[in-house]
Amino acid sequence: MLNNILKLVKKEVQLEWRQKTALGTIFIYVLGTAFLIYLIFQGNITIPTWIALFWIIALFTTVNAVSKSFIKDANEQFYYLRSIATPLEIIFSKIIYNALLITILALVIYAVMVLFFNENISDKGLFLLTILLGSIGFSNLFTLLSAITARTQNFVLLAILGFPIILPLLLLIVKMSELSNFAIQDKDIYMNLGAIGLLDVITLILSVVLFPYIWRD
């Protein structure tokens, strides 16, 4: 099973790499949004605004990047995939791949935001950990939801379904980002990290348990 999951992840990476336009689209999207915000704010923003903008860009980029993760496998590929892999292997491979993709995108956004705005988050290690945990949570949720919305013709649906459901996680991540800049006591940091980790685990379990019901035709 582990072997199959790795192969499927490799397949996703190869497919993505082959379609460089799709990858390019996302990067230009990130760059464009950040530049737009830079022009609107004229470079002067405080740390809370910086954090809020960072996660908003990350959220919208995630929706755009993840929304196509099951559309590629429509029609013929869908039946082929079903015949060679179990639903569990599929969902794990998609979640791992999307988590990787979102983490990389978030790091790119981080780099672009630093380029345009300079940032002064004091504990960079903690912020990177927040990015990683947040990306995993985003991936757990949006991978399952994109599997649902891929079957409809409604393309706004992923955002409509995803935004309210991601809210608890997003609130915790923003809080955590602020704590990584300035925390009064370590207790708050551990409590928030624990809550984010717990949500990651809950969403992962739900996605994995529910995915087989979506995957049948």
């Binding site: 649902i148 309210p164 459901i165 809210l167 608890p168 529910l210």
Partner: protein, 224 residues
């Protein structure tokens, strides 16, 4: 007597309204007479939570048995739960105006949680409307509904406790309602009110389920 719980519901709600508006209340600063909203605002949320829980249970039944009547029930309970959520927001808004001085307080985590919870379920109805195929609609809606309920619980139970900055009683260092209710006068009305409103919400749901079933029968659709 098959429908004893409907008579009980009417009885309890009459008791709630009469005692709620004219019964004895403790003397309180700021809250004053608005404490009577306790019998209306709080039970709305209890009813919503219970209906959403039942909706999730029927969604799980649907996924395991694939009977369309489970889907009809899951959707009907979610609809009425949504209605009670809106009623909870309206009654809460009136109360907030009277005690906190504003219809809506933006820093208040419970209000934001409630608003987000309503959005989650609004998305559920939009998802249902996006499918033509009945079996797919039921299956995907059931999956989303389970997800939605878990996140709903996180939103209204976990986040307010972590952020610890709510204006609501019993949160963020504010005293809970039991500290106001020293002579149990509030409790005497509050518990019957909770049961009464929950029974009413279930009653409304059973009517919606019946209407849906009649509609399906008339159009020759499956009921199993």
């Amino acid at each position: 007597m098959k429908n004893w719980w409907k008579y009980l519901c009417v009885l309890l709600l009459f008791y709630t309204v009469i005692m709620g508006f004219s019964g004895p209340i403790p003397e309180l600063n700021i809250l004053e007479q608005s404490i009577r909203n306790l019998y209306f605002h709080v039970p709305m949320w209890f009813a919503m939570m219970i209906l959403m829980f039942i909706s999730m249970v029927y969604s799980i039944f649907y996924l395991s048995k694939q009977r369309i009547d489970h889907d009809i029930k899951a959707s009907a309970f979610a609809k009425v739960g949504f209605l009670f959520g809106i009623l909870g927001i309206i009654t809460g808004s009136v109360w907030a105006r009277a005690t906190w001085g504003a219809w809506w307080v933006f820093e208040e985590v419970k209000l934001n949680g409630a608003g987000a919870a309503l959005l989650v379920y609004a998305a559920y109805f939009i998802l249902r409307g996006s499918f033509e195929d009945e079996e797919k609609k039921a299956r995907f809606a059931a999956v989303y509904s389970i997800f939605a309920f878990v996140m709903f619980m996180v939103l209204i139970n976990v986040i307010p406790r972590i952020s610890n900055s709510s204006l609501h009683p019993g949160n963020g260092g504010n005293p809970g309602f039991n500290s106001y209710d020293l002579d149990s006068n509030l409790r005497m009305v509050f518990y019957p009110a909770v049961i009464g409103w929950i029974l009413l919400s279930v009653w409304i749901t059973t009517l919606i389920i019946r209407i849906e079933k009649v509609y399906r029968k008339k159009h020759g659709l499956d009921l199993e």
